[in-house]
Subunit: 112 residues, 2 copies
């Protein structure tokens, strides 16, 4: 057990100043996109925001869209779509496992 934390990409550990440097966005913009639900940083005990590399990628995506004049509301919809995609990809994997398990333990069942 204990995989060596492959999910560094999703660990929320980067503070907003660093995110600003990495994305080129101002603190104001980053906080505003949070207000509009485009991102959801973690908040530590004292209220400081912490972001993941994934958040940073999302922010760079947002920056591009905004440059093209896309409004945050639109961007939000697009982001939700991408989420769906990621989820269904996960589902594929889950279902493959499920299928195997089902095949293993299958038993006759009435449609009740």
């Amino acid at each position: 057990m204990s995989q060596p934390d492959l999910s560094y990409k999703d660990k929320k550990v980067i503070s907003i100043g660093t995110v600003s440097e990495l994305t080129g966005l101002t603190l104001r913009q980053i906080r505003y996109y949070e207000e509009r639900k485009l991102i959801a940083p973690y908040r530590n005990e004292s209220g400081t925001r912490k972001y993941s590399f994934t958040d940073i990628e999302t922010l760079m995506d947002i920056a591009d869209k905004r440059e093209d004049g896309v409004q945050t509301t639109e961007i939000l919809k697009e982001l939700r779509l991408k989420e769906k995609k990621r989820e269904s990809e996960m589902d594929v994997k889950k279902k493959m496992l499920q299928g195997q398990l089902n095949a293993q333990f299958k038993q006759g069942r009435g449609r009740s």
Copy 2:
């Protein structure tokens, strides 16, 4: 071109407070291990230390060793060894590429 930055693990973006939480080490300890050259955080313009996930792994390694009573000098040596290993692993990959390139462009060469 432009691989999507697979090297998140090595990006120095985490501040010392977060590193402290993640490793369980005190700020004092983390700074001291730097003094002893066991780690080398990045320093931003204003002098604030920034660590990578790799640094964090190293620190957890150090914590274990210290609990076993190993001195920082010893730990330093061990760390240098691991570096060597990583380098030679990289070398293997490089050499494989080199080999292919050489095979492609090989030309007779006098021993000068």
